[in-house]
Amino acid sequence: MRQSLSVLLGKQKVLTSLRTIGLALAILLIAAIVYSQRAAFLTPENLLTLARSMVALGIVAFAQMLVILLGEIDLSVGAIYTLAGTVTATLWLGGGNLPFTTALLPALLAGLGVALVAGFLNGFLTVKAGLPSFIATLGVLNATDGLSLMVSNATTFTPAYNEPLPPEWELAFFHNLGGALLPWNIPVEVLWLVAAFIVFWVLRHRTVFGFRLVAMGGNPEAAVVARLPLRKYKYAVFMLSGLMAGLAGILDFSYVGSIGPMQSSSLSFQVIAAVVIGGASLTGGRGTIVGTLLGVILLALLNNGLALLGVSSFVQLLFIGLVTIGAVWLDLISQKLIRSAGQRAARLGSEGNA
């Protein structure tokens, strides 16, 4: 019995699912605590608010997880998030520092385009120039924030009350992107989160792309020897990360209905916290999409729960910091236990087979 249990424990799949289950239990525990204090937690309205608050964080975090899987990091996502929305708004509505305006569709494409370019720049600086991605993306974070302010001239854009008012169909289309409500009051944005989850799950777990990311992150040197296209993949994940940040920015713009100047590094750090809470290793080679989703849920749940409990927002921030540290610490400990279980299983396996 002990033999078969430990053979089972040696399997990678069993070990990783143990960790995911642990995280899921933590989420249930927090939810139960919040519910016991505030019954309003489980009302459909609150659950929808909760789901909505996960959208941007989730979409960006899935792509960030791929970057971290490669052993790199992308700090610039928060700024790209703002830039994409700002560029779209300025081109479409006018009023910023740009000399011309366009229709909605070109403006949307331009917003996603600059996000993609920023991602490409991250890739270029990391791969071609050889900067550590921490520094490269930190630089792009600041530069992009500056660019957003330059483009928008720190204007706040509100499509519905803009002067001149955009055509009716453009306003409707834009609202339908993320802000419109489906039956049962579900915001369209939530569908994007579901779609992103499915797409990224397939990308990570069911394509050669995801498979090789794991390999390259686990041992880049061996990947080079095996002639895997490491540089191309780095470009790809940075561009994907930029694109997703841009998409999230535009969707949130659509949902909120306005966009103004903001300092946006906080999104970057929340995203990284979610990915790390979700069990990804900053040294690369470990991380799952389900884990990342759970990390996102945990963070969103904490924000929501603390607000329901009437905790002041200053204390919330303090609390979230502590939880992030605690979660990663717990993860380290469980990782250690898992490794020693795995090694023990391997040893027993070799004896059983000798």
Binding site: G10, K11, Q12, K13, L15, V202, R206, T207, V208, G210, F211, R212, V214, A215, G217, G218, N219, E221, A222, A223, V225, A226, R227, L228, S281, G285, R286, R339, S340, G342, Q343, R344, A345, A346, R347, G349, S350, E351, G352, N353
Partner: protein, 504 residues
């Protein structure tokens, strides 16, 4: 029949000619050894064959049954000293990397071929285990499996068994012979002359970028290879025999007293051992026997969960520990001089003022270079410019400068050439002679014979035998005795009938 010919292959790095018109002909069916002193061009040859670097001139031609092969490197597989594998993935996933059968869906490769290859190499039961949980020997097998799946024709083994135990080495050699018997070309590069004798029928000697000797069948002996290798390299034997004369007795109180110790992760248990001053103790055992872990525990690099480490004297004995891989012991960003003093503290490095005294550090380095027989251009050369053997002497010197009562060293001569080996053994012995104790975890019988006063054999986490080396005549006798102890527990036996020999 496969044939690999190199014709006047040359490769320069700046002013050094790493390969200087090297020519050789290899045929499949036999394991061919390539011997050569450090810097002879072995690793360059390997990199060129594997396509990691391109030769400046000359040609490399591979002819198989179906004719000449275009891109030779595609058919060449290297099995590295430190396996190039993915520690975060399972065995099966490791095999699939770079050879995925389809782009979407569950990623993997043809399960039947995976099963065939893994069971041939005897590691099928590890299929779903993560690589970082497995021993180095298994990791190496995974690298071999990758090469086999790729249907490579040429297998280069680069110091493959430098970190393997005796038993694992034997299994590896058997695999290499199988590959050769399957009609592959198998090349072995190693520092251990004994390995050539054990598994090669032909040995080529590489010096200064050229093949200077070609021994085959009967002519392959340790003496013959050593003669080819050494113009001035001292043989290690002299040092070994001189030790025999000084059969040291152990006097004084033990420096460390282990009493019923148990590892926190269960690698060993019930260990009782006394470390006497003035002696070099070797811990031996296959991977997983607990010998390596015991060495780490004595070096306080690993926690004990139960039992005591007691000092017989008033104070706890101080310990210095050196890991097996130089990756974990050398500070690659520092110079030779800085590495030599890297383990020292304020008392040795600072003058009266309490700030670093460069003069004092320089003096210390200069003395250490001499004392520890380091061959270096200057104290300010980067440590990476030194050969493996000299790096090891620097690391050892740095630890010895600490002046601890006990030095624990794992695999003292991993990847080290012959002449440095003799130096290192001499250093270890003289350190012990000052009334301190040296503990080494060894994988080679030769090394135990050359350097140790006493060997403690572990199997399945327990001490199964202790041998006092002054009672041993020659290496085969020692090897037989150790094998006897290691296998002893496999047979059914009444408790308490463990063989014990020698001290304590």
């Amino acid at each position: 029949m496969i044939q690999l010919s190199c014709r006047s292959v040359a490769k320069r790095y700046g002013a050094t000619r790493a390969l200087d018109g090297l020519s050789m002909e290899l045929r499949s069916g036999e394991v061919v050894g390539i011997a050569g002193p450090n810097g002879a061009g072995k690793s360059t040859l390997m990199r060129v064959l594997a396509g990691e670097e391109e030769a400046d001139s000359g040609e490399i031609i591979l002819t198989t049954a179906s004719g000449q092969v275009d891109e030779v490197w595609r058919r060449v597989a290297v099995v590295h000293q430190e396996p190039h594998i993915w520690p975060n993935m399972t065995v099966e996933q490791n095999l699939a990397v770079g050879r995925e059968s389809h782009w979407f869906g569950r990623i993997g490769i043809d399960p039947q071929s995976v099963e065939a290859v893994l069971s041939r190499l005897g590691i099928l039961h590890y299929r779903d285990h993560e690589l970082c949980d497995l021993s180095l020997a298994v990791q190496q097998r995974v690298e071999i499996a990758r090469a086999m799946l790729r249907q490579a024709d040429v297998y280069l083994f680069d110091e493959p068994n430098s970190a393997l135990t005796e038993q694992e080495s034997q299994a590896l050699f058997a695999t290499m012979e199988q590959l050769a018997a399957d009609g592959k070309i198998v090349l072995l590069i190693t520092h251990r002359l004994n390995d050539f004798v054990r598994c090669c029928r032909r040995v080529m000697v590489l010096r200064d970028g050229r093949i200077t000797g070609d021994l085959s069948s009967e002519a392959v002996t340790e003496q013959a290879i050593a003669a080819e290798l050494s113009t001035q390299a001292a043989r290690a034997d002299g040092a070994a025999s001189s030790r025999r004369e000084r059969a040291r007795g152990c006097h004084g109180a033990p420096l460390l007293n282990l009493d019923g110790c148990k590892d926190h992760a269960g690698a060993f248990s019930d260990i009782s051992l006394k470390l006497m001053p003035g002696r070099v103790v070797a811990l031996a055992g296959v991977e997983g026997s607990g010998a390596r872990e015991l060495a780490q525990a004595i070096g306080r690099y690993r926690e004990l969960s139960r039992g005591e480490q007691r000092a017989s004297t008033d104070r706890m004995a101080s310990v210095a520990y050196l890991a097996a891989s130089r990756r974990d012991t050398v500070f690659r960003n520092l110079t030779v001089g800085e590495n030599l003093v890297a383990r020292l503290g304020r008392h040795s490095l600072c003058g009266r003022s309490g700030f670093l005294s460069l003069r004092q550090i320089e003096e210390l380095g200069r003395r250490s270079v001499q004392q520890y027989r380091v061959k270096t251009g200057s104290l300010s050369s980067p440590i990476t410019s030194l050969s493996g053997g000299n790096q090891q002497k620097v690391v050892l010197g740095a630890a010895m400068e600490q002046g601890c009562d006990i030095i624990v060293i794992e695999e003292p001569t991993r990847g080290v050439d012959i002449s440095s080996k003799a130096d290192i053994y001499a250093l270890l012995r003289s350190y012990a002679a000052e009334g301190r104790s040296v503990v080494m975890f060894c994988t080679e019988v030769q090394e135990i014979f050359d350097a140790a006063d006493e060997v403690v054999v572990l199997s399945r986490g327990r001490i199964v035998g202790q041998v006092n080396l002054s009672e041993i005549e020659d290496i085969p006798a020692l090897a037989d005795l150790m094998a006897l102890y290691e296998n002893f527990q496999d047979e059914v036996q009444p408790a308490g009938a463990q063989p014990r020999n020698g001290l304590n």
